[in-house]
């Protein structure tokens, strides 16, 4: 018998955790002498109150959908891919190479190539940690952390010494050619008669992110590969028994995970900055962890959690702009969400389980 109904596990527990995190965040805001209600109003207005705000919210959400899905897919194979940051960094490099060196006739072709390169580079960066985990039992968490740092150093080197245009002081690549410019939501929605802010960076990558959600859903719950990933995630000895190769599935799952993280680059590098800068990922790889935890590793959950974090990000930026609350407030909120939905999960779950158990005993 389960200790509590599935809906409680999937929705009630994260919801309560989220409320706790929100309550604590409010306390933090009060602690630094600001008004939490006013802060929330400002955040809502700034991120959801205009198409400009929505444009940024959705732009951030697009990043987080990719990294959240990346973490989720790895979680299904019981791996904690903390390397989204590095994989997305490398994805950016892939996108930059695809956009800079090939004269694309049209963005639709460019984005296909960019997706391919982003996923390829992201997956490649996940390969070694995956291989070491599968073949040599090196803990994937530690290796992916190390690979985040190595990726940062590598990108640093490439931008400073290789891709920086002659005479530029910025460690950044040149602008991508106009043909590689992705249409923004403004351009996409205008033909439909919908007025959307032209300044906001949300772009066609959002559509790809939604497709990625559907892809991950089908992959995990409908395909044979997904079946094997989940089986391995639940029990390695069982997987061996069933003739599922742990080495192969571990590596494939991590390649998919790294590819998804890398795909993020089409949004931030190709869609927004239109050139590759240092630290373009801006911690989205880590936010993917929070997003996956909150979304219970389900694409639908990831989608909504990503929107929530997009809101937090854009709202936080607005706060920093209009008040003296530093942008770091978002980092704190993010930490609290990870803490409550991830690490302190049992704090919420155990009393709930007891509650359900008592009800059931009384019922029967």
């Amino acid at each position: 018998m389960d200790r509590m109904p599935a809906w409680a596990d999937a929705i009630l527990v994260p919801l309560i955790s989220l409320i706790l995190a929100a309550a604590l965040s409010a306390l933090v805001i009060i602690g630094i002498g600001e008004d939490p209600i006013a802060a929330v109003k400002l955040m809502v207005a700034g991120s959801l109150g205009s198409t400009y705000g929505w444009g940024y919210t959705l732009y951030y959400a697009t990043n987080f959908i990719f990294t959240g899905l990346a973490v989720a897919v790895a979680f299904h194979a019981r791996m904690f891919n903390i390397g989204g940051e590095g994989q997305a960094t490398l994805g950016g490099l892939g996108v930059a190479l695809a956009c800079l060196y090939i004269p694309w006739p049209h963005w639709s072709l460019a984005i296909l190539a960019a997706c391919g390169m982003a996923a390829l580079f992201g997956a490649a960066w996940a390969f070694l940690p995956a291989y070491l985990q599968a073949k040599r039992g090196s803990h994937i968490v530690i290796t992916t952390i190390m690979f985040n740092f190595i990726a940062a150093a590598l990108l640093n080197y490439v931008l400073v010494n290789v891709l920086r245009p002659e005479g530029s002081m910025d460690p950044a690549t040149a602008r991508f050619p106009d043909a590689a410019k992705l249409p923004t939501l403004h351009e996409l929605l205008a033909p439909l008669g919908i007025e959307f802010s032209r300044a906001a960076p949300a772009n066609v990558s959002l559509v790809i992110a939604i497709l990625a959600c559907i892809f991950v859903y089908l992959l995990i719950w409908r395909t044979k590969l997904g079946y094997q990933i989940r089986a391995l995630g639940h029990s390695e000895p069982a997987a061996r028994y069933a003739g599922i190769s742990p080495v192969k599935i571990t590596i494939i799952a991590m390649l998919i995970s790294g590819g998804l993280a890398g795909l993020m680059a089409i949004n931030n590098v190709m869609g927004e900055a239109e050139r590759l800068v240092l630290n373009a990922v801006e911690g989205a790889g880590f936010i993917g962890i929070a997003v996956a935890l909150m979304g219970r590793n389900h694409p639908l959950g990831v989608f909504f959690a990503a929107i929530l974090f997009g809101f937090l990000y854009q709202g936080g930026a607005e706060l920093a702009l209009w008040t003296s609350i530093p942008r770091e407030l978002i980092v704190v909120i993010q930490a609290l969400v990870i803490l409550f939905t991830g690490a302190l999960d049992n704090m919420v779950r155990m009393p709930l389980e007891r509650l359900f158990l008592t009800f059931r005993r009384k019922g029967s």
């Binding site: 018998m1 089986a231 639940h234 069982a238 069933a242 190769s245």
Partner: protein, 544 residues
């Protein structure tokens, strides 16, 4: 309710242990329900019951490992609170767990003093313990090298360390949870001699075991548990194995399987020179030769840990090996590179693994998902890269009804079925594929008597349909009653083959201890010799 009874011996003294009304629930599982028990000092008290009956839970509560939800404990007549193991140790209780609680990379000495050190510094504690240990070892024939690392010791020696730990803490009450499951019959005999000595010194012993023979041999009184309750406590002298079995499962038990004489045909499985070396470099199988014919059940007997598991794993495609294996005359790849569980299944090999919860099922998958486990690439469950959920669901419903799985709900997660029903799901999945060769390990471990009968019938039916069956079980009774031929494994080798009606448990027991043809040699010496040789080989492998 348990029948109160006087155990004789020291009728006037207070009981060494008395438990009153102990209850314990793990979430929705009620492991112990209002259990009461009395054990008189200087006696050996047996506890029997099916798997999951709650024996270990009850003893763990006495030892302070779990906290009871309700109930009281009296030690030597005094009510004693046992909130943790510290309190139990202080009350003179020692326990040897079913799964040893040792630190693998510590020395014997360090394990013995852990938690019982004298003072804050280690050196004096270690020195003192070394002396005491030597003395105890002599007194009770419990020799172990105090400086050996636990991970280098055999299971039997590890168990000695556990007993030494208890004695070092001056336990007067010793609890042993299934101590013989991992021992050869000879090692078990040795253990029982020690227990007898301890009893003679006035110590009180509680012995949990599944083996009715052991209960009859050594205990003074015995309690029977069923489904979390204590069904009876009786004097050993006044009972019989049949009565105990009945008390255990709640109805009369048929200890033998009805089956017709076999009709063996072609060799389906041929194994020659099968050798397996594990990751640590230990040779687990040392050149196995055997064959199984169509319409025949070959039973593999042996103490667990002597290579049976590896044999099943190699044949099932889980681990690599060298040597030759032919199925229906065609040899199969053993290197692990070109074939795995999937391709073995395609070759007509079905496999019911020894551990259904760890291997045979994904406990968090629903029954319908588990039905495709191992056969997920079968086109029947969906063409291309996608799986057909409808097909899997229909298949599950059919199997559930034919195998009487309860509740017949395909959407229930595997973990929510009882052990017996979980096993039925696995057996249904493997048998209904109609394999030419069925590998089946511990088919009835932890399964109630009703389900045992059903599963045994299915195995015999498959044989009668002309399929080959390789059966591995640690239960000698099961091997004897099901098999057409019995092979005994010891230390990675086949010690010999017998026909069940031409042998007896005594002979098989000797084979299981690695003794062939020299029945006059004192068993214990032979075993020690054998173990020493085994250990030396392992060491050599480690070093090499």
């Amino acid at each position: 309710m348990a029948q109160e009874l006087d155990t004789g011996r020291q009728a006037t003294a207070a009981p060494a242990i008395e438990l009153k009304g102990i209850s314990k629930a793990f979430g929705p599982v009620q492991a112990n329900k209002d259990i009461s028990i009395r054990v008189m000092p200087g006696t050996i008290h047996g506890i029997i019951g099916e798997n999951g009956a709650g024996k270990s839970t009850l003893m763990s509560i006495l030892y302070g490992f779990y906290k009871a939800d309700a109930g009281e404990v009296f030690i030597n007549g005094r009510k004693t609170e046992i909130p943790d193991s510290q309190a139990a140790i202080a009350a003179g209780i020692g326990m040897v767990f079913q799964h040893f609680k040792l630190v693998q990379n510590f020395t014997v000495l360090e394990n013995v003093i852990l938690g019982a050190e004298d003072g804050r510094l280690l050196r004096p504690s270690l020195a003192k313990a070394r002396g005491v240990l030597k003395q105890l070892a002599e007194e009770y024939e419990l020799n172990v090298d105090p400086d050996a690392l636990i991970q280098d010791l055999s299971v039997g020696h590890q168990q000695r360390v556990e007993i030494l730990k208890a004695l070092y803490r001056q336990a007067d009450i010793l609890i042993l949870d299934e101590p013989t499951g991992v021992l050869t019959p000879a090692e078990a005999d040795h253990l029982f001699r020690i227990l007898d000595n301890l009893r003679r010194e006035g110590k009180t012993i509680i012995l949990i075991t599944h083996k009715l023979r052991e209960i009859m041999d050594i205990t003074d009184t015995v309690s029977v548990m069923r489904r979390g309750e204590m069904t009876a406590t009786v004097k050993t002298e006044g009972t019989s194995p049949e009565e105990l079995a009945e008390l255990m499962v709640g109805r009369k038990v048929l200890l033998r399987v009805e089956k017709k004489a076999g009709n063996p045909g072609e060799k389906v499985l041929e194994v020659e020179g099968l050798t397996v070396t594990d990751e640590a470099g230990v040779v687990r199988l040392k050149g196995i030769d055997l064959h199984v014919r169509a319409g025949e059940i070959l039973g593999i007997a042996g103490v667990s840990g002597n290579g049976q598991s590896q044999l099943l794993q190699v044949l099932g495609g889980i681990c690599a090996a060298t040597g030759m294996v032919r199925v229906n005359g065609a040899s199969i790849d053993l290197s692990g590179k070109y074939s795995d569980g999937q391709s073995r299944r395609a070759r007509g090999i079905g496999h019911v693994p020894e551990d259904r919860q760890q291997e045979g099922l994904i406990m968090d998958f629903a029954a319908w998902e588990n039905i495709a486990f191992g056969y997920h690439n079968d086109p029947r469950f969906g063409a291309g890269i996608f799986m057909s959920h409808a097909e899997m669901m229909a298949d599950t419903e059919g199997k559930m009804s034919r195998f009487d799985v309860r509740p017949p709900n395909p959407r229930l997660a595997a973990k929510n079925f009882s052990g017996g029903n979980q096993q039925k799901i696995v057996v249904a999945r493997e048998i209904e594929r109609n394999p030419d060769l069925l590998l089946i390990g511990q088919p009835t471990r932890g399964v109630d008597i009703g389900a045992i009968e059903f599963i045994h019938e299915q195995i015999v039916r498959l044989r009668d349909e002309g399929k080959a069956i390789l059966l591995v079980s640690v239960e000698l009774d099961e091997i004897m009653s099901l098999s057409d031929r019995v092979a005994v494994m010891f230390d990675g080798q086949i010690m010999g083959e017998r026909l069940p009606h031409e042998t007896d448990e005594r002979e098989l027991g000797l084979l299981m201890a690695g003794i062939q043809g020299e029945p006059d040699k004192p068993v214990i010496e032979a075993v020690d010799e054998m173990m020493a040789r085994k250990q030396a080989e392992e060491e050599a492998a480690h070093n090499g």
